[in-house]
């Protein structure tokens, strides 16, 4: 099993391809500039990544035009995206394809997704904890749903949805079932988001036409678990980049005649951060490798650990850059905002610890 904690050669090749693309197409200054534009997501970059490198259909079987890869490859892509805080709907689309793959009769949709022709997102608040009772905010007619009646009408509101702005299709949980809704049939209002590089939106459905995909939410819980697992790798990548930016800076910034990186106070904090990140790498790898019952535990551990480490790395990045790290014109804040938002996504670390306690039999009282 412990070999699963390493990266395979194929994974490293995929990483290199993604890293090259991002270096060329998503330097931080461009990412920052886009945050104040009317297009917070980078459609061209997503096309190059999703269709070009195949990140849009990573999990989709090869016979449907995808890569037939596993979560491990998806995690490597997420690491690189975390390093660049790149504004592409990879995570949301991944979650949605994972969900579709667990549902019957979705081959056509998956084929469109894998080809990059349709970007998909799941219409839940970004803060939704996998498996933890969702508030029902969308109602559906006719009700109750029947397998032989696929057409429906949905009405309601879903707030703070990630990666829905650039989506073509939304998978909407409503009244206990899952529906596919064309994004064009939904009113999407961009949210002024703490994370400026993953802009959320609020969805309003008003008698919007939808197609019944499945009755029940169990596949949704699985898909959100997948999303949380991959998010841990994004957090790992972000933390790594924050550490490397900071290490480079403290080597060159001189105060009192010495590089500030030669002061033991900073050195010890950076070394502690490195220890945390080395651990984040192990738990993130395990989260995308574990199967069966182990997976829920592994994902809870990864979220509990990696979301804290990413925030810590971003906070240290701001602090150790001093004044410049507090300015708009330095990338540190992009990482801080992404890290803090990601720590709330799919449930906070505390909620994952609570979930873990149930899984490993350590009840609160």
């Amino acid at each position: 099993m412990s070999d699963e904690l390493l990266y395979s050669e194929t994974e490293e090749e995929l990483r290199a391809a993604v890293a090259d693309l991002l270096a060329a197409r998503a330097p931080w200054a461009a990412v920052l500039a886009r945050t104040e534009s009317s297009e917070p997501y980078d459609a061209d970059l997503w096309k190059a990544l999703g269709a070009g490198i195949g990140a849009a259909g990573l999990l989709v079987p090869e016979e449907l035009g995808g890569s037939g890869a596993s979560l491990r490859e998806a995690a490597v892509v997420a690491e690189e995206l975390g390093k660049a805080v790149a504004p592409v709907p990879f995570l949301g689309n991944l979650t949605a394809t994972a969900l579709l793959m667990a549902l019957p009769d979705t081959d056509d949709r998956l084929r469109l997704a894998a080809g990059g022709e349709q970007t998909i997102a799941v219409a839940v608040p970004f803060s939704t904890l996998p498996g933890n009772g969702r508030r029902n905010t969308v109602s559906v007619t006719p009700w109750p749903p029947r397998d032989d009646v696929r057409e429906a009408r949905l009405t309601g509101r879903v707030t703070s949805v990630a990666d829905a702005l650039p989506a073509d299709v939304l998978i909407v949980p409503a009244d206990g079932s899952l529906y596919a809704v064309r994004a064009a049939d939904v009113r999407r209002t961009p949210v002024t988001s703490l994370d400026m590089t993953r802009v959320l939106c609020d969805l309003e459905l008003e008698d919007s036409p939808g197609e019944l995909l499945a009755i029940g939410y169990s596949a949704l819980d699985e898909a959100l678990t997948v999303a949380a697992a991959v998010l841990a790798s994004e957090q790992l990548g972000l933390a790594e980049r924050c550490l490397s930016l900071t290490v480079e800076y403290v080597k060159t910034r001189h105060q009192f005649g010495r590089a500030i990186g030669s002061y033991q106070g900073l050195k010890h904090r950076l070394a502690q951060l490195w220890v945390q990140i080395a651990q984040a790498r192990a738990v993130a790898r395990h989260a995308v490798s574990a199967k069966g019952e182990e997976r829920a535990i592994a994902v809870a551990v990864a979220q509990a650990h990696c979301s804290v480490v990413a925030v810590q790395a971003a906070e240290e990045c701001v602090q150790m850059h001093g004044g410049i790290g507090f300015t708009w014109e330095h990338p540190a804040h992009l990482y801080l905002k992404r890290a803090k938002s990601a720590s709330l996504a799919f449930g906070t670390a505390a909620r994952h610890r609570g979930r873990l306690a149930e899984l490993v039999g350590l009840p609160v009282s």
Binding site: E36, S193, Q255, G257, R258, K337, S341, L344, A350, G354
Partner: protein, 396 residues
């Protein structure tokens, strides 16, 4: 004039002044000028410069009497840098003419001051600064860049430290000036921060001419003059007598109380740990005030600032965790120039981001801990290689 010895004497004197100068019937500026000229402005300043050389702790007595009478204040927030940093330095190092010229309009709030010390390459290590002043007859020609300047966009005057001799060790080649912010070559640009707004400025100085009679202290003595400025800055930090649950802990506690749905039992112990930390910091600030009043000044000011920064960061971080989905949203990223800094106002996300500055601005937490370690605990300083080397030869 008879000497004032008791608070009661002082109150009487102010009542006499108020009888002759009805604040409700006078133009504000006029009233303040009269108050200054009567020696009832900053009481501990010397006669003729707005004071009567009285003990500092009588000041609150005077402020209360004036406030009760509905007298205008001098907008201390707006002129804080002038009052707290420029004025004591001018008093200590200025010529008689300089004092006469600058102190009255400063105190009366007619002229706003700012401070041009920090540079991109000289933050914690102020003495490494690179802004160059070269003598040209009766004038100096200044070139360089300063950052983190509050109020620069409203200021008439600045206190400025420059390098006049790069060939001597860094502390020795500095000279201190008063700069006219309206002079040609002074360019002020807003410095946008991670919250989206711009509280501070960058100031670019390009061939700016300063008359030599605006120099404070001797040529090459700028470090000593700057120390006076900075010591007066630090006196201002630390003590206080805020009520329980002031500031961010109050925001968080009220959120917990008023919104049962966000109460996450797993985070309750952390909430209470921070509540205790906030209460401990509050009581410590009160103890510091009592010490200062009792004439036992301590180095706790640095500690208070450090504790405040750490606490604000932890509190605002926890707040976002409690709010979950709400924490994903922000209020406004548009570039604005806020009138005041409101640490507890605006959205939770703003609090979280703004608090990151608390451990950087006005002395980083690292520098504060160094100060405590060396000046309070007496631990040895770092090995310094930069003290005896000509500034121009330093690693930068």
């Amino acid at each position: 004039m008879p000497t004032l010895t008791t608070p009661h004497d002082l109150e009487n004197r102010i009542h006499e002044f108020l009888a002759a100068h009805d604040p409700l019937a006078m133009e504000e500026r006029e009233f303040l000028r009269n108050r200054f000229d009567a020696g009832l402005a900053w009481l501990h300043y010397p006669p003729g410069l707005g004071g009567q050389s009285l003990p500092r702790d009588l000041q609150p007595v005077a402020e209360k009497v004036f406030a009760d009478a509905g007298a205008p204040d001098n907008d201390p927030r707006r002129i804080g840098i002038g009052l707290g940093m420029a004025a004591p330095t001018i008093l200590a190092f200025g010529t008689d003419e300089q004092k006469k010229r600058w102190l009255r309009p400063l105190w009366c709030g007619e002229e706003v001051w700012c401070q041009l010390f920090s540079e991109p390459g000289a933050g914690s290590d102020l003495a490494a600064l690179a802004t160059r002043a070269v003598r040209d007859g009766d004038e100096w020609i200044v070139n360089g860049q300063k950052v983190w300047t509050s109020m620069a966009h409203e200021a008439r005057w600045a206190i400025l430290v420059t390098r006049t001799d790069p060939d001597v060790p860094k502390h020795q080649g500095l000279t201190y000036f008063v700069l006219d912010m309206t002079a040609p070559g002074v360019e002020v640009r807003p410095l946008r921060q991670i919250t989206g707004e711009a509280e501070f400025n960058e100031v670019f100085l390009t061939d700016v001419r300063i008359p030599d009679d605006q120099r404070l202290g001797a040529v090459g003595d700028g470090w000593r003059v700057a120390q006076t400025t900075l010591m007066n800055e630090r006196v201002a930090i630390g003590g206080g007598t805020a009520p329980r649950e002031s500031g961010m802990i109050g925001v968080l506690a009220e959120t917990w109380r008023n919104r049962p749905e966000i109460r996450e039992p797993a985070l309750h112990d952390r909430l209470m740990t921070l509540w205790v930390a906030a209460e401990a910091a509050r009581l410590t600030a009160m103890r510091l005030s009592a010490q200062l009043a009792a004439g036992q000044p301590g180095p706790e000011g640095s500690a208070a600032k450090y504790a405040f920064a750490t606490l604000n960061q932890q509190l605002s971080g926890l707040e976002l965790e409690l709010l979950g989905e709400e924490g994903l949203r922000y209020d406004d990223w548009t570039m604005r120039r806020p009138d005041t800094v409101d640490f507890v106002g605006r959205s939770p996300g703003y609090r979280y981001l703004r608090a990151k500055g608390n451990s950087i601005e006005g002395g980083t937490s690292e520098i504060l801990l160094n100060i405590i370690a060396e000046r309070v605990l007496g631990l040895p300083g770092e090995i310094r290689t930069d003290k005896d080397v000509a500034w121009k030869d330093l690693a930068r």
